[in-house]
């Protein structure tokens, strides 16, 4: 520590690298600050426990709901909604986005429409989805899909459009046909960017989950939050929030590892 002092200049220089220890330490510090202020605030008389449960309360509620199995039931319901919505969306947006980024005509047809739709608030469609689709899991999946698909489409088409034209030219002069250039050059060259897009958008899928489950759901983490609000069970709401955060973090790390594995060349 003494020999590797980080100077003030180092900390305040833009784009300056820092030792790993310092980076990890700073990250841990912000967690400690967050958790301890929560702990102190809930222990003090400043906020009534009815509005702010202590971390211990949330933890014990978690243990209690885990023991009787209801926690996992709701978690599983939410995971299903997020994953189905996200996977269906990705399966459509990846090929379509690549076509949009590769062929100007596909872009010309889709872009005006997509750019309009992606700024429509998903929440405003929930009543419509309920009318059209009902209140089953399909409706919740549709909310996730709608929240993610159009963003993915635009981001993936940008990734594919960014593939260097020189690479295409090189492939042509090596005997690759126009149609094969999409699968043999644009697809592998886009892979790291596509995985980055999936990593970002799975986070959004989790944020749309509660919107999907707040209305017309009978299970899920969003549903138990709503029910807990009615019964003033703030600890359950906190629990649901923490678990959604942890699940989001898990999927985020999944895509981070996947990217490192599948496209090590881009790191």
């Amino acid at each position: 520590m003494s020999s590797k002092q980080v100077s003030f200049k180092q900390l305040t220089s833009p784009q300056e690298e820092l030792p790993k220890k310092v980076v990890l330490g700073a990250g841990t510090l912000s967690w400690i600050v967050l958790l301890s202020s929560w702990f102190l605030l809930s222990a003090s008389d400043l906020v009534p426990t009815m509005f702010l449960p202590s971390p211990m309360d949330v933890l014990s509620t978690g243990v209690r709901l885990a023991e009787n199995g209801t926690l996992f039931e709701h978690m599983w319901a939410s995971i299903q909604v997020v994953l189905i919505g996200f996977i269906v969306s990705s399966m459509l947006s990846i090929p379509l986005g690549m076509l949009m980024g590769s062929f100007k005509i596909v872009q010309a047809v889709l872009e005006p429409l997509v750019n309009f739709i992606r700024y429509l608030p998903v929440t405003s469609f929930v009543p419509l989805f309920i009318l059209w689709i009902g209140i089953g899991i399909e409706q919740r999946v549709t909310v996730i899909f709608f929240g993610v698909f159009f963003q993915q489409l635009v981001m993936i088409s940008d990734v594919s459009r960014g593939v260097s034209k020189d690479l295409l030219h090189a492939a042509y002069t090596l005997g690759t046909s126009r149609s094969k250039v999409v699968t043999q050059v644009i697809a592998p060259a886009s892979l790291p960017g596509i995985l980055d897009t999936l990593r970002v958008t799975i986070g959004w899928a989790w944020t749309y989950l509660v919107v999907a489950e707040l209305v017309a759901a009978t299970s899920g983490l969003g549903y138990i939050s709503l029910k807990a609000m009615r019964g003033f069970q703030v600890d359950v709401i906190f629990l649901a929030i923490v678990i959604i955060g942890l699940l989001g973090l898990l999927t985020d790390q999944f895509f981070r590892v996947l990217r490192a594995r599948l496209s090590a060349w881009a790191n």
């Binding site: 260097s164 020189d166 690479l167 030219h169 090189a170 492939a171 042509y172 002069t173 090596l174 005997g175 690759t176 094969k180 050059v185 592998p188 060259a189 892979l191 496209s263 060349w265 881009a266």
Partner: protein, 289 residues
């Protein structure tokens, strides 16, 4: 406008005769067969002002089989455009280009190209990059391996076969790009300032390596550069272009025998050629202003 390229030697035999007087070595290295035939090629781009910009104005040139032709010219003279047209990556507004007797109407593996920027596929290893074109041809794996080995050796990268392009220096990347193009055994090799981004030491090494490879493979090469030393060092003939509109000003024979070495830049033949090219380029520039 209106000033055309100096007419090319009307017949090949004229040209051949001229060479016979000076360097008997040349005859052994170049045949009389024309491998590249560029016939009155014009390339125009529309501009925002409404009038077309003429990048190339009725350019004609011929390159013989096994010849190392160098096109030298100031930036913006259309020398790279001419190469892209020859590769089939772009189409001329007017005129025709033939390679090995066939009219160019799109890119093909028969016209290999090495680009100025680094164009190795970063997700493939060095040997997979060299193999890329062979796979497109659906060549069986054992044959592919043999060819990849041959060209890895040719460019001195046997020990780097499994590396990623990212782990290579600029010079190494271009060596792989040369090997990748040659592995396809194209009818002509087009090179668009391939050493332009390299430092001068590496650049000279690469020129020597390219000459060696060329002497082994005896490919017809068209090499574009703005570096006069490079043009003379590499070329059998140097096509000097002028700008606005892009056209060929003059074709010069480089009567310096092979193998060429680095110290040749000090020799009188080299220097007088350099002076001539410089004055051609200089005159062209001063006409513009």
């Amino acid at each position: 406008m209106g000033q055309l390229a100096e007419p090319l030697p009307s017949t090949v035999s004229d040209e051949q005769q001229k060479q016979d007087n000076t360097t008997p070595i040349k005859e052994a290295t170049t045949s009389e067969k024309i491998q590249l035939h560029i016939d009155e090629v014009t390339l125009k781009f529309p501009t925002s002002t409404g009038t077309d910009f003429t990048a190339l104005d009725k350019v004609s040139m011929e390159v013989r089989e096994n010849e190392f032709a160098v096109i030298v010219g100031p930036s913006g003279c259309g020398k790279s455009s001419l190469l892209y047209l020859t590769a089939g990556l772009n189409s001329p507004t007017d005129g025709e280009i033939k390679v090995a007797g066939k009219v160019v109407d799109g890119p093909s593996a028969e016209r290999g190209m090495v680009f100025q920027g680094y164009t190795l596929f970063p997700w493939l290893s060095v040997s997979e990059n060299i193999e890329f074109g062979l796979k497109q041809k659906k060549m069986p794996a054992p044959e592919r391996k043999k060819i990849v080995q041959k060209y890895l050796k040719e460019v001195g990268l046997e020990n780097f076969a499994d590396r990623n392009p990212k782990q290579l220096s600029g010079g190494m990347k271009q060596r792989v790009a040369i090997a990748r193009s040659l592995a396809n055994d194209p009818e002509i090799l087009l090179m668009d300032e391939p050493f332009g981004a390299l430092d001068s030491q590496t650049r000279m090494q690469m020129q020597q390596l390219l000459l060696q490879v060329w002497e082994h493979s005896k490919k017809t090469v068209v090499f574009v550069t703005h570096d006069i030393d490079e043009a003379i060092m590499l070329g059998d003939r140097v096509f000097v272009m002028g700008a606005r509109p892009g056209r060929i000003q003059k074709v010069l024979d480089v009567n310096i025998p092979h193998p060429r070495t680095l110290d040749m830049v000090m020799e009188p033949d080299f220097i007088s050629l350099k002076r001539e090219i410089l004055s051609l380029l200089h005159d062209d520039l001063s006409e513009m202003h």
